[in-house]
């Protein structure tokens, strides 16, 4: 392992230890906040891979959050599975769904692709709203008995779910870092910078786009399942929410720095800090968020991290290959 990779690994382990120990030192409300932070970190890292690297501007990732959530509820309520066992199922089901979507959506380019992903997500939401056995538009709850399968005490259940979210947040970030440092990472960076040139030097951009889309969707499904395991209740409106699962994530990645691993991290921190600072001011919160977004994209196409890179030449998660490396 190279020096920089070792430093990043140690840094990630340190962050993981700090967050994982939070049940010992943080209150219940804080724990919920940290868990939510981790879920958004994971979603942001994934959307950044999709849009920032593979050039797939999806505004329909809520399809996979919702699908994962419904896999959990169907698995637990209808099939009597243990909640944790539904997570790998959510991975597989959303991955297969994404592969099917890709067959249709990959015929579209640019803005048409974006709209297509949105329409696909809305269609999936409508399908779930139309199934009476799943509670239709009203949704359904997880039975208390099933949830006890995770842990007996409520407190311990909350810890387990929190640790799952930490694992997803930090795990996704670590996996994205490892991906970008691997050979497919070279192809993703080439794709990000110049798809035409990437094709002319032999990069299979169709294949890399397909697999990025499918794997991002599969992990998004798992995150959706865990988020709704924490909420204990699902409805099509909440599970397939465009503002919650895609718009907020786009905001995070764009202000943080699209096409940079650090961008998702910085964006998630900024988003949560702003949200906590402004939570008592109602609508003003959205106005400030909007102004921040406009200012950042006006002055730096690379987001906040783009400014840091340019002026300070910092890199938290270096992926550059050196000639003599």
């Amino acid at each position: 392992m190279s020096k920089s990779a070792l430093r990043v690994t140690l840094g990630l382990i340190l962050v993981a230890v700090v967050f994982a120990s939070a049940p010992a030192w943080a209150g219940r409300a804080d724990l919920r906040l940290y868990g939510e932070f981790m879920s958004y970190l994971a979603l942001a890292v994934l959307w950044n891979l999709l849009a920032g690297y593979a050039g797939l501007m999806s505004v329909g990732q809520q399809a996979f959050v919702g699908l994962g959530a419904y896999v959990l509820f169907i698995g637990v309520v209808t099939l009597g599975m243990s909640p944790l066992l539904t997570l790998p199922v959510a991975f597989v089901v959303t991955g297969i769904a994404a592969a099917f979507f890709a067959l249709l959506l990959f015929r579209l380019e640019g803005a048409y692709f974006a709209i297509g992903t949105w329409v696909a997500a809305e269609s999936v939401a409508l399908v779930f709203a139309g199934i009476p056995s799943l509670g239709g538009g009203a949704g359904m709850s997880l039975p208390a008995a099933a949830v006890r399968g995770i842990a007996d005490s409520r407190e311990m259940r909350e810890f387990v779910i929190y640790w799952l979210l930490c694992g997803l947040g930090i795990g996704t970030l670590a996996a994205a870092y490892a991906l970008i440092r691997s050979k497919p990472g070279l192809a993703l960076m080439a794709l990000r910078d110049n798809p035409m040139a990437a094709m002319s030097v032999g990069v299979d951009i169709k294949r890399i786009r397909f697999w990025t889309y499918v794997l991002v969707a599969a992990l998004t499904g798992v995150i959706g399942a865990v988020i709704f395991l924490q909420k204990l209740r699902v409805s099509p409106q909440a599970a397939f929410s465009l503002p919650d699962w895609t718009v907020a994530v786009i905001f995070i990645v764009v202000i943080g720095g699209i096409g940079r691993l650090e961008g998702a991290v910085v964006g998630t921190v900024v988003y949560f800090v702003l949200r906590e600072l402004l939570k008592d001011y109602g609508v003003a919160y959205l106005i400030v968020l909007g102004i921040v977004a406009i200012l950042v994209v006006t002055f730096s196409g690379g987001g906040l991290w783009g400014l840091v890179e340019k002026h300070l030449r910092w890199s938290l998660m270096p992926t550059h290959r050196k000639r003599d490396g």
Binding site: S182, K183, L186, A187, M189, A190, R192, D193, N194, M196, A197, A198, M199, S200, V201, G202, V203, D204, I205, G259, H320, R321, K322, R323
Partner: protein, 253 residues
């Protein structure tokens, strides 16, 4: 015409491409023998770069056939044509701007040759070295000067391990000394067994290197032959050398 001679590296047969009523490539045919070097000249807008786009698959021809060492590649996408052995430099450099020069070349070596990243490294270093970019290896491609970006185009194309190399105006803007180095480099590339097709306005760079010249005007081949005879062709001098002669002086450098 339908059978490529065994020694032919690249054969284009009756290529046509139109955008609406505008025919940019009209019945273009040519053959480049293995280890050969073909120069392509013609006034601006003659369809030279379009012809490269048709050969590399960036643009699909409306009709016609392109074969590489006897294999019909007309139906392949740019990636497969690269894997089949065609590499190009872009006239307007198309670097991976967020990556270093070395990483640009490393991607080409790894994917163009189908190697692991580790196995691609020596090829990447060699290509940078050949193009004279070793000192700039770890510099961001987006911050390179235009001249270095052109060198990077050449290095990246070479790194894919091509059998046929298409060069699109890489000598423009070079000083006399740099031009001399470029000529020497392209000769070395030829000696290494790579077939060359070179679009170039800077005739004194092109002429010493190529065996044959193809002259395009309004998408059509108006002349083809040895460099010395081509330049005496009255049609060529009238459409090309007359108006464009000034451009080949050192004014640009």
């Amino acid at each position: 015409m339908s059978n490529a001679a065994p020694a032919a590296a690249l054969v284009a047969e009756v290529l046509n491409k139109s955008y609406g009523a505008l025919a940019v490539t009209r019945d273009v045919s040519f053959t480049v023998p293995e280890h050969g070097a073909l120069g392509i000249i013609g006034p601006n807008g003659a369809g030279k770069t379009t012809l490269f786009n048709l050969i590399t698959g960036t643009t699909r021809a409306d009709s016609g056939r392109i074969s590489l060492f006897g294999q019909d590649i007309s139906g392949l996408d740019p990636r497969r044509r690269c894997l089949a052995g065609i590499a190009r430099s872009f006239q307007v450099p198309q670097p991976f701007a967020g990556l270093s020069a070395y990483e640009n070349v490393l991607i080409a070596a790894a994917y163009g040759r189908g190697l692991s990243e580790h196995a691609a490294r020596p090829h990447a270093r060699e290509a940078l070295d050949l193009a004279g970019l070793t000192r700039k290896a770890d510099t961001g491609a987006g911050t390179l000067t235009l001249l270095d970006r052109k060198r990077l185009e050449l290095a990246r194309a070479l790194a894919t391990g091509p059998r046929v190399l298409l060069l699109d105006e890489i000598a423009g803007g070079m000083t006399e000394a740099e031009c001399g180095e470029l000529i020497a480099l392209i000769r070395r590339i030829r000696e290494a067994g790579i077939t060359i097709v070179w679009i170039e306005h800077v005739l004194h760079a092109l002429l010493p290197v190529v065996d044959d010249i193809l002259v395009l005007d309004f998408g059509k081949v108006i002349a083809e032959g040895k460099p010395d005879t081509i330049l005496d062709d009255p049609q060529v001098t009238s459409v090309y050398l007359g108006p464009d002669d000034a451009e080949t002086t050192e004014a640009e450098a």
